[in-house]
């Protein structure tokens, strides 16, 4: 404070008087707190993302390695084998034997009957043959002996006639049951 000739003057510098109110910085502190919290959360999230990305890359590398280790030739072989085993089972169960049918016809054949042609068709399920017999009686016996087989569903005689050699020629169509007549 200046003293000039005993007169005291007012101070030259003014002192600022701050009146602090309780809670006036609260929002400021909360703001800082929010910023720090956001920074911490961001750091933590970034760290976790980085770590998870690493895991994904490791997994992708493992998948790629597994893919490289595949023996594609062996896989192809196994796939073919699988398909074949399914097919073969169905083919074998449906496999038919005409040689068995011929044996059955032979057994049913009357002694004096002689075949001149024989046509067999799986599509039509039929066997057609032309044969010669010494008489109509033998033809009748022949037909009866064929009918006796339960693998033959029907016997149709289309023609029977006398031929030059004194014998009788006849044409027969057998409708067969493949499952019974063409299988052991």
């Amino acid at each position: 404070m200046a003293d000039k000739g005993g007169i005291q003057l007012l101070p030259e510098t003014r002192k600022r008087i701050d009146v602090s109110m309780p809670g006036e910085n609260r929002l400021l502190h909360i703001g800082y707190g929010v910023i720090v919290a956001v920074a911490l959360l961001f750091g933590a999230a970034k760290g976790m993302t980085h770590s998870l990305r690493g895991q994904v890359e490791t997994q992708n590398a493992s998948l790629a390695k597994l893919n490289q280790e595949r023996d594609k030739v062996a896989e192809e072989q196994l796939i073919s084998l699988g398909k074949q085993s399914v097919l073969i089972n169905s083919f074998l169960s449906g496999h038919i034997f005409w040689s068995i049918a011929l044996t059955k016809i032979e057994k049913a054949l009357q002694q004096q009957v002689q075949f001149s042609t024989l046509n067999a068709s799986l599509d039509k399920h039929e066997i057609t043959f032309t044969a010669q017999a010494p008489s109509y009686t033998i033809i009748a016996r022949q037909i009866a002996s064929l009918v006796a087989d339960d693998g033959i569903k029907d016997v149709q005689i289309s023609n029977a006639k006398a031929v030059n050699n004194g014998r009788y020629e006849f044409v027969v169509k057998l409708i067969i049951d493949d499952a019974k007549y063409l299988k052991p």
Binding site: M21, E24, N25, R26, L27, L28, H29, I30, G31, V34, I35, A37, V38, L41, F42, A45, K46, M48, T49, L52, R53, Q55, V56, Q59, N60, S62, L63, L66, E69, R70, D71, A74, E75, Q77, L78, S80, L81, K83, Q84, S85, L87, I88, F91, L92, G94, H95, I96, F97, W98, S99, L102, T103, F115, S116, T117, L118, N119, A120, S121, L122
Partner: protein
């Protein structure tokens, strides 16, 4: 002055919340998708490893039973293998004393709903009844499956032999 501090504080909070929205929130969203990806990859890896180990098992068994499998797959091979059929038919014919005149191969009707193809073989020749029955029997019991579809026999009065035509189907994988 006090009001200024409060404004600044409110501004900082707003900025903080905005930053939360654009920084950690985004990162946490990425975390969720990364976790899903990891889980899916884990499942995929587990599945692939199980398949791989199963394939290894099958492969070992396949190698152990290679001979049996070779015979088995010859029943319905993966390819036409026409040459093998020709040589098999020739062997069968000569074993049965058959004179084989002609062997004709043709493609069967394409069946789109089936996982196999068919090849038609027509064999014509001459022989005695016994030898024809023999060739038929051998064809039907051949390792490669041959299904006889049709048979035609006609007697030749002059030679006393039979002319034959055998129509058969063989199969191979698609």
């Amino acid at each position: 002055m006090n009001n200024n501090r409060q404004f600044i504080g409110a501004g900082i909070i707003a900025i903080g919340l905005f930053m939360f929205w654009i920084l950690p929130f985004n990162e946490y969203s990425k975390l969720a998708s990364l976790r899903t990806a990891i889980e899916q990859n884990d499942n995929l890896l587990e599945e692939r490893m199980a398949i791989q180990s199963q394939i290894e098992d099958y492969k070992t068994k396949y190698d152990q039973q290679a001979n049996e499998i070779r015979t088995f797959v010859a029943i319905v091979p993966t390819k036409r293998e026409t040459a093998e059929i020709i040589s098999a038919v020739e062997v069968i014919a000569s074993q049965n004393g058959i004179q084989l005149n002609e062997v004709v191969f043709s493609e069967g009707t394409a069946q789109t709903d089936k996982n196999y193809n068919t090849m038609r073989i027509v064999m014509t020749g001459r022989g005695s009844y016994g030898s024809i029955r023999g060739i038929l029997n051998a064809i039907e019991r051949n390792i490669r499956l041959i299904d006889v579809q049709g048979l035609r026999l006609t007697s030749d009065a002059q030679t006393g032999q039979l002319n034959f035509e055998i129509q058969a189907d063989v199969y191979f994988l698609k």
